[in-house]
């Protein structure tokens, strides 16, 4: 049994704000839930499954109570920023298995407006040995990956900058984007060094906000009168330090990608649009390689000549401006990756970046760090007629 064609995304909602000092995180969860359900033409009463990450409280219980949900299926799989892409796959599995018919996925956070406080108390065992050396947050881990990728494959800072340039060209069309102005390769290379070789403009934005998705059964989809995106394939993986033999030049996408393509029955050459997790520019380079859009090590060369720029590049990516320019709510970009892929398949992306005849889209989520341990999830979506 596969999930191919057995569930669809019927509603999506991205919180329009980027600084939210006047809401609790639970309120943001509620707002995005309502927005996605309204988009689908459904209500909280229709929801019979709920998915969230560990920030929502006591697993899914706190938010089910807050929202008054009566669920027959819950899941709080935590894989960092890729969680919500995992949730879509799990929701599709549950729907295909008959466990539920309307699954609500929410995420929310306020790193700009409140201390996150995601985890307290005991250190994770790895942090006892990795928290001593002055790692400057996530950027240092990804910088460790970038240095090694450059060493092994000749990747350059200018090639990394091309990823940021493409995202910025898309963000100028998004009125909600946190960084709406196009930048050049030169401007990226002139931005301050943060953790070499990564510069400020190699890094994603830090934003408040959130998003939500509604996944429904085919029977529900037919009743809605709303264009849906069909879930065709999904794969997930955890990639870790392999007993200290960590290889930072690849991501969990080497596992999640092929599984998703196999389930969908398509190949990278068939994909019209990709949402690629872009916490840092190097994240995109390694992920494109690992998903098979180019050979291992060729990512830096692949992104040259506007390859990622919509609508006419070889592989249009992150047409909302991505995490690099638009939005990376609560340092977790997986959900906005799925949202923009649905917009593309519905033909509802901004006209300037809408990919013509977009029939197949891929959304990929990354959580944790390429520089230590991470979660990956790959989702392949098709237009309603796919």
């Amino acid at each position: 049994m596969t999930i191919r064609g057995k569930a669809s995304i019927a509603g999506v909602y991205e919180h329009p704000r980027r600084e939210i000092p006047d809401r609790s995180t639970s309120q943001i969860h509620a707002e995005v839930a309502a927005g996605a359900l309204a988009d689908a033409g459904l209500s909280l009463r229709d929801v019979d499954a709920y998915f969230c990450d560990s920030s929502a409280g006591f697993g899914p219980i706190s938010m089910a109570d807050y929202l008054g949900l009566h669920c027959v299926h819950v899941d709080s799989t935590e894989t960092g920023g890729s969680s919500y892409v995992v949730h879509v796959g799990h929701a599709a599995e549950a729907i295909a298995a008959g466990k539920c018919s309307v699954a609500l996925i929410t995420m929310a956070g306020r790193p700009r407006s409140a201390a996150a406080g995601r985890r307290g108390g005991e250190l994770t065992p790895d942090m006892e040995f990795e928290g001593l050396w002055g790692m400057a947050g996530a950027v240092s881990g990804y910088a460790l990956a970038a240095t090694r990728h450059m060493h092994e494959f000749g990747t350059t800072s200018a090639q990394l900058a091309e990823v940021k340039v493409a995202a910025s060209l898309h963000a100028q069309h998004n009125p909600n984007a946190y960084l709406p102005h196009p930048v050049t390769v030169e401007e990226v290379l002139e931005s301050p060094m943060i953790s070499a070789p990564l510069r400020r403009q190699d890094c994603c934005v830090v934003t408040d906000g959130g998003g939500a998705l509604v996944v429904v059964s085919p029977e529900v989809a037919r009743q809605l009168g709303r264009t849906t995106a069909k879930i065709l394939g999904h794969g997930e993986a955890v990639k870790h330090a392999e007993n200290g033999r960590l290889d930072v030049t690849h991501t969990g996408a080497v596992v999640s990608g092929p599984r998703a393509f196999e389930e969908a029955g398509v190949t990278p050459a068939d994909i019209d649009y990709v949402s690629i997790y872009d916490s840092f520019t190097i994240t995109v380079i390694e992920t494109l390689e690992d998903l098979g859009f180019c050979a291992k090590g060729d990512g830096g060369r692949f992104v040259l000549d506007g390859a990622l720029v919509a609508p006419d590049g070889r592989l249009p990516f992150n047409t909302d401006g991505g995490g690099l320019c638009n939005n990376h709510p609560s340092n977790r970009g997986g959900i906005t990756k799925v949202i923009e892929a649905v917009r593309q398949l519905r033909g509802e992306a901004h006209p300037a970046v809408q990919v013509a005849d977009c029939a197949l889209a891929l959304a990929h989520g990354t959580g944790g760090s390429i520089g230590s341990r991470m979660g990956s999830s790959t989702l392949i979506l098709g237009r309603e007629d796919a």
Binding site: F129, M135, A136, S195, N243, L246, V248
Partner: protein, 138 residues
């Protein structure tokens, strides 16, 4: 030249007490699997390769090469933010494991992937020492 790096004390667990006590004696220990002989990193009483719980300590050579590194120019980490720029690196030990650490006793810009390094210890004053690495004579 970067400033003086801080020496934050680790918080040992029952699994790691001996490891940290040895660092205060100038020794870098590796947990090793008694069944498949694989050196284990980070230290734990379980072999993630073969699943054995039979493990014991052995002393590492302290020699290795830089697998990858980053020169940190912006940091909010207390102690470290006063020592910018500094180098965070993975050092691959002769025994195989890659350890997150700092490279010291050289200019940050002189660090290269593949550079030979040796362990040096920085006492925390709390019964442990931080294992950092310095360029080794080739």
């Amino acid at each position: 030249m970067s400033g003086v790096l801080p020496t934050p004390a680790p918080v040992p667990t029952p699994e790691s007490e001996e490891f940290w006590a040895a660092t205060a004696q100038g020794k870098l220990l590796l947990r090793r699997c008694d069944d498949c002989q694989t050196p284990i990193w980070y230290p734990r009483g379980f072999c993630p390769v073969c699943g054995s719980f039979r493990t014991s300590w052995s002393e590492a050579s302290g020699r290795g090469v830089v697998y990858t590194f980053t020169v940190v120019h912006r940091s909010g980490v207390p102690g470290y933010r006063e020592a910018l720029p500094y180098v965070v690196a993975y050092v691959e030990l002769e025994e195989g494991p890659r350890l997150l650490t700092n490279i010291v006793e050289c200019e940050p810009d002189d660090v290269e992937v593949g550079m030979a390094v040796r362990v040096v210890f920085f006492d925390t004053g709390k019964g442990s020492a931080l294992y950092r690495f310095a360029p080794a004579p080739s």
